[in-house]
Amino acid sequence: ATCSFKMVCGILVKPLIPDPNLNKIPTNGSDRNADSLPSNRTDEQALLTTILQRTALNIIDVSAVDSQGMEQHEYMDRARQYSTKLDVLSRTLSQKKPVPLPSLSSQPHQVLAADLVSYADVQQVSKIAAYAYSAISQIKVDAKEELVVQFAIP
């Protein structure tokens, strides 16, 4: 009696290069695989074809895009259309007013003549700023894993 069981592997992401050794039905020594192992040559060929297919799916070749020719007058019409649209847009943009200055005081001379910031206050602020600077300069990345890895090619 033939016994076969599938080996379940924990790979969740489909690898670009499929491992031909996965999904092989393990046996107890004797070669019981009904779908017999193809020769190395065709195996490799199948691998390469799969890579090609996957790449073709993921890559967009802009130069190969088929472009329809446009007639001269069509082209001119569209250029005029776009130009008009741009004009309308640039007009609405230039009308945007900058944020007006808020009013901080109705007595500017009084405010400016008032006592200057005390020496003690300046010292305190400088100290706080120095602490903040020191704290920020100590921020660093704690890398838990390798950022650069080798692709494992069987």
Partner: protein
């Protein structure tokens, strides 16, 4: 018009120069800040940035006066009626000496 703006500034104790700036440019200048458009430009940028600060989601800027402090002098800045007032004052404050 300039006398109304600048009279009060002239009388500020230990002032060594001032500027009155509007959105269009410098309206008046005197003393060490006379014709100093460079300083005017920098201070305009600084005060516009400072005006964007808010405390606890309040609607107005949380300050009446902005002070740019150097070793020997201070630029005191405020805004009133769409104009920025800058006065350069001497800064004589030193560490208090305990006798």
């Amino acid at each position: 018009m300039t006398t109304a703006l600048t009279q009060g500034l002239e009388r500020i104790p230990d002032q060594i120069g001032y500027l009155v700036i509007s959105e269009e440019g410098v309206l008046a200048s005197a003393g060490e800040l006379e014709n100093d458009e460079l300083t005017a430009g920098v201070i305009m940028q600084m005060v516009r940035t400072a005006c964007r600060f808010r405390l606890h989601g309040t609607a107005e800027p949380p300050f009446k006066r902005m002070s740019v402090m150097f070793e020997d002098y201070v630029y005191a800045v405020t805004i009133s009626g769409q104009k920025v007032f800058v006065v350069k004052r001497q800064n004589n404050q030193r560490e208090p000496v305990i006798v």
